[in-house]
Amino acid sequence: MVKKIREIARKLLEEGKVDVVLGYEKGTEPLSERPFVARTVEEVERLTYSPFAIQNLATYLPRFNNNKVAILARGCTTRAINVLISEGQIERDKIYVIGIPCNGVIKTRELRESIGEEIEDVSIQNGEIVIKTTTEEKKVKFEDWLNISCKYCEYPNPLFYDVLVGEEVKPRGGGYPDVEDYEKLDEDKRWEIFEAEMSKCVRCYACRQSCPMCYCEHCFVDSTEPRWVEPGFDKTDLESWHLIRVLHMAGRCVDCGTCELVCPEGVKLLFLTRKVARDLKRDFDYVSGLNPEKPPFFGEFRYDDKGDFIL
């Protein structure tokens, strides 16, 4: 797979079809597969791919609007591209999509921190992640460390591509059991968990910056007039930030999970975004990023939209 990716990338760069290739390279941290921008034929040799590549590369696309770009895209990446096109941020003709069917990505930071020892080598064999530390060899189940969105992913294959690397995979599906479990808890318990999660936030905004949908030049959280979110670490401000962020994601979030995976404090965010995605699908039959022609969720309405909550 990696060989094929490099081959395609090299050809594209050599023939001048694209200026840059957005892909992944091996990082210096264990379990890290970081974004990498290949600009020359030599740099193509650094490209790799594995389930540790957590970052959704569509985040970088608006930066390269003046270039022709090739991008490694999973299902969620192509959905993000669709949303960005529908919102007029990028143009499809300038993007060459190297499609990758995806089996899900791993919660790399959480796994790394759970090991608690120096990790020397990592490999994936027969559905297991084999982690060699300085003292022992640990085996953990691939499924156990899957990003929650990937676990129930319905669109693992790229929705569109110029070239596909590998065989298409079967969607896992499975709905939103995590959201349903949370809903079953009683009100005060839910609030307690929510507060505990949000108060871990250090406001580094890695969630915002890593999100392919957060391209605003001026974010509401930085606004001083009106002051949607006040400075400081009061719980209500941290909660406001995350709640409003999730509202802005409604109908746009493609459920790639990057925001939660990159959070240095491990704040759980997907139970919020997935809740909204579930509602939109269940009550409005709306799934984000399937069609670049379709207006955004909040940019359209139906006369028979749910309205029974209104007096």
Binding site: R34, F36, E118, V202, Y205, S210
Partner: protein, 335 residues
């Protein structure tokens, strides 16, 4: 050098307690200890550095209340008093770098000073430098005692320690502990050599001068190309200290709040007019690197980095400052 068996740590715990809080290493942050056993923490690198104690994420500077035509102001100084037990040399050095900025001349910061003056640093040698550590690059190592008030090393099941500063010496003097044994000191020397060598040293000779000539280099494009522009690296960095001051207002009360800021944010340099002197990520990256490896050494003859590797660990896209330093070093300079 004095000695105290780890099983009898309560003997020094009480003495430390008399100074105020006793902070110990927990996985995520330094926290106050409730029992002497907690001094035995084996965490080698605390995620949130000890800077959080001196420069909290947020601190109110003053509060105001309006009652009719009267407005009353009240100065707020959040104090801290006690001992940080087990602070490794890298973080202690980082605090000495913060001191350069916050305790000198006109820039003296009373809020920082109030806390800094009343907190003793009980350092412990770092026995488990990890793959991200490159402290020896900056002319010190996991056994460097000079940035702490008291410095100790755990050798087998004994804590060896000595006072370094006057304050530290005073504390040690009043303790009922015996002198270290000869074989223990010998073992310490051996450990020191072995562990210090384990840290990978980078050769950054001449980087300060080189950077000065690289303002217009193309390298900044390359370095910043995968950066997301979040503030994680700066927030967890033990030497980063930038802050922002804003008011929180309600119709008749409010307070002035100092919070952290990060040079990686767009808003950091955005001016009222709408002009931004660092409009793109590459300029922000340039500033961050320049500040640590050029401006700081020019001002204070010290690099603004201690080589703890936290930024490498927390970065969402694993941007590695070591690689970047090497890239800068190897980048040819065009005339």
């Amino acid at each position: 050098m004095k000695r105290v068996p780890l099983s009898e740590l309560e003997r020094i715990y009480e003495a430390l307690k008399s100074y105020g809080s006793v902070w110990v290493r927990k996985k995520n942050a330094y926290e106050t200890a409730e029992t002497p056993e907690e001094l035995l923490s084996t965490v080698s690198k605390v995620k949130k550095p000890a800077k959080f104690i001196f420069l909290p994420e947020e601190e109110p500077l003053l509060a105001f209340v309006q009652d009719g035509k009267n407005v009353t102001f009240q100065e707020v100084i959040r104090e801290a008093k006690g001992v940080i037990f087990g602070i490794p040399p890298c973080e202690a050095k980082a605090i000495s770098l913060l001191d350069l900025n916050f305790l000198q001349g006109e820039g003296e910061d009373i809020y920082y000073k109030k806390r800094r003056e009343n907190v003793l640093l009980f350092g412990l040698a770092c026995l488990a430098p990890d793959s991200r550590c490159f402290c020896t690059t900056f002319g010190y190592g996991p056994f460097t005692e000079s940035f702490t008030d008291i410095f100790g090393v755990v050798v087998d099941d004994v804590l060896l320690f000595e006072g370094i500063t006057e304050k530290g010496k005073d504390l040690v003097k009043n303790l009922d502990v015996e002198d270290a044994k000869g074989e223990e000191l010998k073992k310490l020397e051996a450990m020191k050599k072995e562990i210090t060598e384990r840290v990978k040293k980078l050769d950054i000779q001449g980087i300060q001068e080189k950077l000065a000539r690289m303002m217009d280099s193309e390298i900044w494009d390359k370095i910043s190309s995968s950066c997301l522009g979040c503030g994680a690296c700066t927030y967890y960095c033990p030497t980063c200290y930038c802050f922002d001051i804003q008011d929180v207002e309600r119709p008749n009360w409010g307070y002035r709040l100092r919070t952290w800021d990060s040079c990686m944010f767009t808003l950091y340099t955005l001016e009222g007019s709408g002009h931004n002197p660092r409009p793109e990520l590459k300029y922000r990256w340039r500033n961050r690197l320049m500040h640590k490896f050029n401006y700081y050494p020019v001002l204070y003859q010290e690099f603004g980095c201690v080589g703890c590797g936290r930024c490498i660990e927390v970065c969402p896209v694993n941007i590695d400052i070591r690689e970047i330093l090497m890239e800068v070093k190897n980048e040819p300079i065009r005339a």
